[in-house]
Symmetry: C2
């Protein structure tokens, strides 16, 4: 599926099943609305899956990795080499995302969209490298328009691959890329027009001075490229990242295939912003896992109109928040299917 | 164990294991502090369990039920009979708490502390009835001081029973009792001295007028009894409830036995407030599961100095928030034990 085909393929979730789910939730033996966001989640999943007994058995998190030219400006505490090292750590199973995905009974797939390292073709990852690192956005565009589209289409291709038998019930998106909170903050700045000071965060742990510098770098990049919400592909090309493009493609691809998708924190949600900018209907398949401590994330969630399921003060990425949220989403499906209605309770009591 | 003995038995968690846990979390191959509340939770659990590989295999939620004389004032949308009906529904396995506990691989035990109904002695619940319903707190004390102590000691006795072989790794507390948001709001008002208008919530769904009335009822009760934080047992006796006493006893008992305990929303946290008022050291074993939409709950959490793990806009009770939080707590133990340190990653890479 190329991008245009995927966009056309997105159907809205089934309103009838959403209604049926809402009725059943209201009829359950408990005060109306008392399970809050679990109810919203269950209702939306019912509409997507066209059943009141949604089963999220096959859960996969795709962690998209890429490097960023802007690290030359000193916007991160960690050296660029860490991106590739962490890809190996993911494959080896000892990283944070592996641990939390195991707990959620999800599997992890890693994708190289633009890591500045030559991985052996035998390494069991998605080999989708567009280029080795983006350009330094303070001085040049992150990538060409064609590369931006290619990174999105790489994400779409991964969803097609993952949806093959035995299939995929819930996709999670996560990221790895030293320096990638900088382009992500630039993306939400481009979409919202808000002051960068409100949007930039400390990433892996910048001090006040380094944060000020990061803000200046983002302001300079926006001043140079002037990307706007009218052309989301241009935003991705000018100030984004290859893994952000991949993350956008995952959302569009999942929506095209009718699969719910839960995004992680700042970077994954930057990808979701691009995706929903290009194809607003994709938002119907999108769930927000958590509220990151990164300042810009809250504005992204507002822009997308999403209520996050968790608020655990996470700021790690990799898909860790998405993994945890999968457990809550799974619980929400049991809420809808298994909590008895007042009528069912009366029938049980009468049978005794 | 009577109350005095239980209080004396509470030891503080092991500071050495907390330190070891903090060091390991800091050494893991990810930015320091990036897993937020998961790290705090894992560190505290390590101190309680004296290991860096905490296993929360045996999880039990105790749902304490009781009735309230104050329902005569029209403070709830549901009739009092629903308390007993829901006890049967819990035993039958079809209620919200059953569904969410199953998902968390926890079991549910129901306790009658003061339901206005005669249950058969064969019904598989904890039979701990102090009396059939409390007094109407607008006109009389909820219970006598002796009854208050008896309700707390009933909670302590349940923890001793549950801690017998094969043992208990994590206790969750939940409630059922029509009208019990009214005494719970009165409890936090007595502890905080704050305006009742700030503390009272809509319970199962009161409209503006009914909420105003509920506030007046609570104000009248406080004016009549003048309970204060200096004597938490008196607060329980004057404006509390039998299930709130049981919930307090569960916290004290768990702390005395060195078992972590996670409390649900407004009513379970009212019990925890009483418990920590009587035995401040019990707070070291206490975890807050979620932030309820009930206004007073936030003030309870502040008073206890606890950060809740979830913010899902729940307002159900039964222990539903505690069940969901158990999954997050379980994940936090895997974070501590399984995410590799930078050193472990290097050793693995060198071995290849």
């Amino acid at each position: 599926m190329n991008l245009q085909k995927a966009i056309k393929k997105i159907n809205l979730p089934d309103k009838e099943y959403e209604k049926k789910a809402a009725l059943r939730l209201d009829d359950q033996a408990r005060p109306k609305g008392s399970l809050g966001l679990l109810e919203d989640t269950a209702r939306r999943l019912a509409g997507i899956s066209k059943t009141l007994d949604v089963r999220l058995d096959r859960k996969i998190i795709v962690t998209c990795a890429g490097d960023h030219g802007v690290v030359a400006e000193g916007v991160s505490l960690f050296p660029q080499e860490v991106t590739a090292q962490m890809v190996y750590n993911f494959v080896d199973g000892g990283a944070s995302i592996n641990v939390l995905a195991r707990h959620a009974k999800a599997s992890v797939r890693v994708a190289d969209l633009g890591v500045n390292h030559d991985f052996s073709p035998e390494l069991p990852i998605f080999h989708k490298k567009i280029a080795k690192s983006t350009g330094n956005i303070r001085k040049e565009p992150a990538m060409s328009r064609n590369q931006a589209i290619a990174s999105i289409e790489a994400g779409i291709a991964m969803t097609e691959e993952l949806a093959k038998a035995p299939g995929l019930d819930l996709l999670g998106t996560g990221d790895m890329g030293i320096g990638n909170t900088t382009p992500s903050a630039a993306v939400i700045a481009a979409f919202s027009g808000l002051d960068v000071k409100k949007l930039a965060g400390r990433g892996t742990g910048l001090d006040d001075r380094a944060l000020k510098h990061k803000i200046r770098v983002i302001e300079d990049a926006l001043e140079l490229h002037r990307p706007g919400p009218g052309d989301p592909v241009d935003v991705l090309a000018k100030v984004g990242g290859f893994e952000i493009g991949g993350l956008a493609g995952l959302v569009i691809g999942a929506a095209a295939l009718g699969i719910p998708v839960v995004c992680d924190g700042l970077i994954a949600t930057a990808g979701a912003l691009i995706a929903c900018g290009i194809a607003p209907a994709a938002g119907s398949y999108l769930f927000a896992s958590h509220r990151s401590v990164e300042a810009g994330h809250n504005y992204m969630l507002k822009h997308l109109g999403l209520d996050p399921l968790l608020d655990l003060k996470l700021r790690l990425g990799e898909g860790t928040g998405a993994a945890l949220a999968m457990e809550i989403m799974d619980a929400s499906t049991r809420v809808l299917a298994e909590i008895r209605t007042f009528e069912e309770v009366q029938i049980r009591n009468a049978q005794k």
